[in-house]
């Protein structure tokens, strides 16, 4: 019996009423966990691990997996409606998703996010079924030099996002790179830029920074004017239009590919696919200047990439026994608590469990779509809450969210500081997105560069002798040159204010 036959057997198991109930519980809890700022999928999955240990293997792992990809969608809800990312991978959605909500199109944003998440997640799950073995071999060929090249492409795309002011974009990116370096040096373990403060040894978490720079600064920007009325001028139809579907189709397809390919690389941060997707959508758009004002492509692409990555990140776990992310590591723990060893041998020793869990991913993505699309009108009511109550609630949730990361009030102070920084950046028209993106990309670039150099005993030739790495670096260089040329060439000879 081939893989497809095993998949069908697994599907029959996953569709049993008891297992369906646990998938539904997982999807619901996952969405709730994603909505609550600060309680990310890692914490949520870890909290429920003891409960899962009391269940049989199949329902336990089905439920935990559903929490994992359910949380990816849940984080979108607060990103769109409140400009507060529910979890780090949804931070990019704040940019255009919330702008859509302010125009009364929050329902359309959430609907397209749900559809894109479904398509991306299901495609990645089917990829796990049919081509996991081949893809895992590709993933194994990605070492530090190739990783460096990939992340350089991401950085080049961030630069390419600069609108009218390249210097401001670059300054924002440089500041983000510095912020990402705060803490312990990833290779030699030396403290850096901590200024003697113990609390900075762990660095500044992306969640804290994102909640401050998006959420708190949004509140400050709102209260400087008269607070009153509703946060949206009107609420239009909650469904997507034909034009929305047409505009979203290609970004969803690209987001699926981006999220899937990056998901199979062990260690690839969940935020990176969303950054790459957003950057590409802006780069190839005919109206890039409109990104940030409520472009549906800026929601469709990243949200699809987000869920595609979440499902594809399970491929290294199932095929190689390598957890590609902290949440997947928790899932691996769930396997081991049940006496199972994820990896290629799982398919031989417990094929019924392996294929049931894989099939449940497909079922779970369908369930997530069915669960969340009807709830969009419910979520959208959040925007009707009077602004003083809504904004105060946002502030309190941000505080709870950052405090619960490390149980450290220092993170709350960082939240306030980044809130002020975000407010000032909005005032002086310095883009925020590059800073947030480079906080993620910077440590990855540095670590992969230095690991590559150690592999080659200090020789830069490692990037030229490995073909995949060389191709990635050349692509990054080409993107950078083209982007810079496009920005510099039109203003030659014209007066330009910085």
């Amino acid at each position: 019996m081939g893989d497809f036959g095993f998949f069908l057997d697994g599907l029959a198991t996953a569709m049993q009423p008891g297992n369906l109930v646990f998938a539904l519980i997982g999807c619901t809890l996952g969405t709730l966990i994603g909505v609550l700022p600060g309680i990310g999928p890692v914490a949520g999955t870890a909290i429920l691990l003891p409960i899962a240990a009391t269940l049989d293997p199949i329902p336990a792992i089905i439920m935990l997996s559903a929490i994992y990809y359910g949380a990816m969608y849940g984080g979108t809800i607060t990103s769109v409606l409140m400009n507060v990312p529910g979890e780090a991978a949804s931070a990019i959605t704040c940019i255009d998703g919330h702008a859509m909500a302010r125009k009364g199109r929050g329902g359309a944003a959430l609907t397209i996010a749900a559809l894109g998440s479904f398509i991306g997640g299901t495609t990645a799950s089917l990829g796990l079924v049919f081509i996991a073995s081949s893809l895992s071999q590709l993933g194994l060929r990605i070492g530090p030099p190739e990783f460096f090249g990939l992340i350089m492409i991401g950085l080049a795309l961030v630069v390419g996002m600069a609108g009218n002011s390249l210097p401001r974009t670059l300054m924002s990116a440089v500041l983000g790179l510095f912020i990402g370096m705060i803490g312990i040096d990833p290779v030699m373990g030396a403290p850096r830029f901590t200024f003697g403060m113990m609390d900075l040894l762990d660095g500044i978490t992306l969640a804290t920074m994102a909640m401050g720079i998006f959420g708190v600064s949004e509140v400050l920007s709102n209260v400087e004017r008269q607070v009153g009325g509703s946060m949206v001028t009107k609420v239009e139809s909650l469904t997507i239009t034909r034009q929305d579907a047409k505009d979203s189709a290609a970004p969803i397809a690209r987001g699926t590919l981006i999220g899937f390919l990056l998901g199979i690389i062990p260690g690839m941060n969940a935020v990176v696919p969303t950054i790459v997707s957003y950057s590409i959508e802006k780069r190839i758009s005919k109206t890039p200047e409109k990104f940030g004002t409520g472009m549906i492509q800026g929601v469709a692409g990243p949200e699809t990439a987000n869920n595609a990555h979440a499902n594809a990140a399970l491929i290294p776990l199932f095929t190689l026994g390598i957890p590609g992310s902290p949440t997947v590591a928790i899932l691996m723990g769930a396997f081991m608590m049940q006496g199972l060893s994820p990896g290629p041998f799982l398919f031989q020793s417990h094929p019924d469990i392996a294929w049931a869990v894989i099939s449940s991913l497909v079922v779970g993505n369908v369930m997530l779509l069915i669960l969340n699309i009807p709830l969009v009108p419910v979520w959208i009511q959040i925007m009707r809450i009077p602004p003083p109550i809504l904004m105060t609630g946002i502030l309190l949730f941000c505080v709870i969210g950052v405090y619960s990361i490390n149980n450290n009030v220092f993170d709350v102070w960082m939240l306030i500081i980044f809130g002020v920084v975000g407010y000032v950046m909005r005032k002086i028209d310095m883009p925020i997105a590059p800073m947030v993106m480079t906080v993620v990309l910077g440590p990855l670039i540095e670590q992969s560069l230095r690991q590559s150099m150690e592999m080659s005993s200090g020789s830069f030739m490692v990037f030229t002798t490995r073909p995949i790495a060389l191709v990635f670096i050349l692509v990054a260089a080409a993107i950078l040159v083209l982007s810079t040329w496009k920005m510099v060439a039109p203003v030659r000879g014209a007066d330009s204010e910085v």
Partner: protein, 152 residues
């Protein structure tokens, strides 16, 4: 915006120079490649070039008035100050006084500052946001929120 751009460039310059100085205290290069200070030094150089370029461009540009609504009105400053003061007090006293009491006071005060002064709205929302959220996070989600000296 000329003055704003000048100040922006100056602030960024000071920040990157400070970070660059810190980076110089670290090891720049090792026999196996870049050390902990390598990236910091080069980022400081790039940041300084950008900042100086911003300052020079701003100095050469003609002075233009700021947009009409650039600065908030005095009421806006008061609201922002109230919000930031509320957040600062929350951070300062959260672990000492405890989540429930501090969040209740925070919600009441900040909603008041933002203009929600109806007691029959303000108090129930504050109660739900303090006691209700405490129950959700601590008892249902098993997440720790500070209890403070009063035990709540």
């Amino acid at each position: 915006m000329k003055t704003v751009n000048l100040i922006t460039g100056a602030v960024v310059l000071v920040l990157v120079l400070a970070m660059g100085y810190e980076a110089l205290q670290l090891r720049y290069y090792t026999p196996l490649g870049p050390g902990p200070g390598f990236f910091g030094v080069w980022l400081a150089v790039i940041g300084a070039v950008l900042a100086i370029g911003t300052i020079v461009a701003a100095a050469r540009s003609p002075a233009k008035p700021l947009p009409a609504n650039f600065w908030p009105e005095s009421a806006g400053w008061l609201r922002m100050g109230g919000v930031l003061l509320g957040l600062a007090l929350l951070a300062l006293l959260l672990e000492t006084v405890g989540y429930v009491i501090m969040s209740f006071l925070f919600l009441v005060a900040v909603m008041f500052v933002m203009g929600e002064r109806r007691v029959f709205v303000n108090l129930p929302v504050a109660l739900a946001g303090s006691f209700g959220v405490y129950y959700l996070f601590v008892h249902l989600l098993q997440t720790r929120l500070p209890a403070g000296i009063f035990g709540v």
